[in-house]
Symmetry: C2
Subunit: 342 residues, 2 copies
């Protein structure tokens, strides 16, 4: 069976529709016949189900010629991988697919996954990930690595919430170069609300990170000789605008009832605890949070690294994308990524 290729689509008649669409979910029916996207035709050619397609010049193209001329091989490799896993799927643009639940196909209306295929080497703008996070079915980034294996990353919008709430009395502190110290704080500061860390095992002094100190100073809990803005200036001196982004994310998390602490050991900005009643009964932190600007372009390797490490320590990897529009918690978009196996 040979179909025709007009440079954009591959077309066939009733027999092709019956054979490829009705029974195996390739293409879409039109006027009783069949229209295939190039990646679908490439897969049929690759499998030998089609011998060739004939272009407008009357030339017959086999798999190799057709792949070179008409198809992104990154899209082809993802299409092939999902077919190999037993899914039917429909192209939704040159490198995107709607994947139907197993046992279902394009004649149904449901979608299990919306998949976007990218190369290991191609940067992914944050906006592209945000787009994947909304819609029916799970948004998935399919990264074709240099060995053409395809790790899948599920993208979703996490709910930022927690159940931590403590009333704190006023605390006096002192601003140092890279942190603040509360020399004689109320014990609730650390032991209940989990701010800071003891300076020494036996002492009562609590050191606060600059981001904690900036938050506590801004909310009026921490009294410093320095102006609250001086804390932020100290933070910016080393980190620049990044400090302000981290401060906004910190505040948003605290206000939502979650407790952010440094995620340094995990290579993240924060690890977060949804509910802290006391440090003695501290549970497992559930999330790792990386703070980025809303315009960030992800290197897929970064994503792979973060998601893999988070998975290894059984935490959810969350990205906080901070816009420029200065709002308090507004202007932050949240994305959760996890490795998944379709």
């Amino acid at each position: 069976m040979e179909l025709s290729f007009d440079g954009r689509r591959v077309r066939g008649g009733t027999a092709a529709r019956e054979r490829f669409y009705d029974s195996r979910g390739y293409g879409r029916p039109k006027d009783g016949g069949l229209v295939l996207a190039p990646v679908e035709a490439a897969h049929l050619l690759f499998r030998g189900d089609l011998e060739g397609v004939v272009d407008d010049a009357g030339d017959r193209l086999g798999f190799r010629d057709f792949l070179r001329r008409a198809v992104s091989e990154v899209a082809f490799l993802v299409y092939k991988d999902l077919r190999d896993r037993g899914f039917y799927l429909s192209p939704d643009g040159p490198t995107a697919f709607v994947v139907y639940p197993r046992g279902s196909g394009p004649w149904d209306e449901t979608a299990a996954y919306r998949v976007r295929a990218v190369s290991e080497r191609a940067p992914v703008p944050a906006a592209g990930l945000r787009e994947l996070a909304t819609g029916t079915g799970t948004g998935v980034l399919a990264v074709v690595d240099e060995e053409s294996e395809v790790p899948y990353l599920g993208v979703s919008e996490p709910t930022v919430a927690g159940a931590t709430d403590h009333e704190l009395p006023a605390v006096e502190g002192e601003l140092l170069a890279d942190r603040a110290i509360a020399w004689e704080p109320p014990s609730a500061l650390h032991e209940r609300a989990f701010y800071g860390q003891p300076l020494d095992r036996d002492g009562e002094a609590i050191q606060l990170s600059l981001v904690e100190a900036a938050y506590l100073a801004a909310t009026g809990t921490l009294g410093l000789e320095a102006d609250p803005e001086a804390v932020a200036a100290r933070g910016r001196a080393v980190e620049g605008e990044r400090f302000d982004r981290r401060r906004r994310v910190y505040r948003t998390l605290r206000e939502a009832g979650a407790v952010p602490k440094t995620g340094f050991k995990f290579g993240a900005d924060f690890r977060t605890y949804a509910e802290v009643t006391s440090v003695e009964q501290l549970g497992h932190s559930e999330r790792l949070v990386r703070v980025l600007s809303a315009g960030h372009e992800f290197d897929p390797r970064e994503l792979a690294l973060d998601v893999r490490l988070a998975g290894g320590v059984r935490k959810e990897m969350v990205f906080a994308l901070v816009g420029d529009d200065g709002g308090d918690g507004e202007g932050i978009e949240w994305l959760a990524l996890e490795r998944l196996t379709p």
Copy 2:
């Protein structure tokens, strides 16, 4: 006991020298007396071994005032942590230390570690890490995180070498957008020399990553209709200069007898095998390699992430720092980092 502080150093007499230097390794002797760096005096004040130091104006400074006025608290926290671990150490600049082997001290000449203290928040230029990699004793980056815990990262210069060597016959291939395909290659290409990956389980076609294709084309093994430089141009189109850096590192590794394959799953540029005789008997890859420009500034969180992930999969984390001086393997500096516990 009160010592004097001239704004730079803390000084004491014979009794101070005997008590602090001779028996406990603080400071250095001078003219029979003792000279302490501020961080050493701060530690003695913190422990209560000194009640105060007297400045030029005759004011008596306790720990809190002295810390604020004279000492980087990042340096203090590292100094304290190493003392708590049972080491004697001497300041070597405001945030660097020479650490003596356990049971030894400044009266000996040996150094176990050369430690540089940085904040979690402060970028570390590649040049600073390179400096740590050379000298007597292990170079160590001590990162003070926002909770004032101190992970230690050992820095060294790895030997880039391997024992892989295969003669390959000429291979014909075709350049696609994001990889090349050798449709009917000699089986040794993949099965012995471990280039590329089969396009399909049963087929003989081998897909090559652009970095593999660029190397094989440049060495004359891979014949393409396209010019070898066209492969590099294809790589640069997506990755820019980064592709050239990766290509140089790839070539250097191959020429040294190591086999680099994508490190994507580990968030790295390459994983490497020191010796590949056949793909069937493939061992464990020993290293992860991240390719960076020589002028890169490391965010300590990146380092923590890479080193932690590499440790978790029992591989050595190696950074290839690629200079602009275009040499073949020249102009690349190698650094290995690992978590260590002094």
